[in-house]
Symmetry: C2
Subunit: 155 residues, 2 copies
């Protein structure tokens, strides 16, 4: 039986937490793949679950789907990814997380010094201008990239 041990869309959805529509969407983007039954239904290998776990984790760290796609593309084509492969992919997140935590901490500490005054000054307030970017010239609270919320054409 070649088809043993394969998962249906519903099963993968239940086990991964992604909606079936999201799984189809990811397949269109080339993030995951499935084999088909003779009737055309998707059947997933178990390895898709690890791939989906990677996708979710990457999204949580702030990667966009095309970045996830780039990362996944570096996996070896011919063989099943090893633990070392996954480790390599996820190792870069450590510094990304460190950066995010540092940025949020700076924001919080800025808040601590600011909340007493209620200033929210455009020029001086660490809250609207955490890294003291653009502190010269007339105001302009430009944020360091890590603290800017994603903007269209910026994400």
């Amino acid at each position: 039986m070649l088809s043993a041990n394969l998962l249906t869309v519903g099963a993968v959805a239940a086990r991964s937490g992604f909606a079936p529509s999201a799984l189809r969407y990811y397949e269109r983007l080339g993030l995951i793949e499935a084999v088909r039954t003779t009737g055309g239904q998707r059947r997933y290998r178990r390895s898709v679950l690890r791939r989906l776990a990677f996708i979710r984790a990457a999204r949580n760290v702030g990667l966009r789907l095309n970045e996830v796609s780039d990362a996944l593309a570096t996996l070896p084509g011919g063989r099943t990814p090893t633990r070392a492969d996954w480790t390599r992919l996820s190792r870069t997140w450590r510094s990304r997380l460190d950066d995010q935590i540092a940025a949020l901490s700076a924001l919080r500490d800025g808040l601590d010094s600011c909340i007493g005054c209620g200033c929210l000054s455009l020029r001086r307030c660490a809250f609207s201008n955490p890294a003291d970017q653009a502190a010269t010239g007339p105001g302009a609270a430009f944020l360091p990239a890590l603290l800017r919320r994603p903007q269209p054409h910026d994400r």
Copy 2:
């Protein structure tokens, strides 16, 4: 001169860091307001700058515009907001930031214990399932709200 001390769109854009189109958009949403010249051009009071600083800071903390709108709606209608008003509005961010930092730290620490094994297990990996949510039952890496990246209909 009643019109002294008022700022044009361009000036507000330069000083706040928001694009003119964003300022018009915010006005449509009722987040900010402007008086008009006889010719119909916008003229902003200086207080709009603090309001915009608040908006930017709130966005940085992760609020969506409608939440920002709700927050701004609690400002007193009749008078110019005081420092105490702004302080009240921003005080809740402190715990929000604490939560975000804690969540990211948990993710990072989970990574520390996980990166050695490269597992990314759906059930056990702290990275894909940081707070050990949905740890019972068949997998499913459901994340605590603060760590979920914003989803459509979820943000």
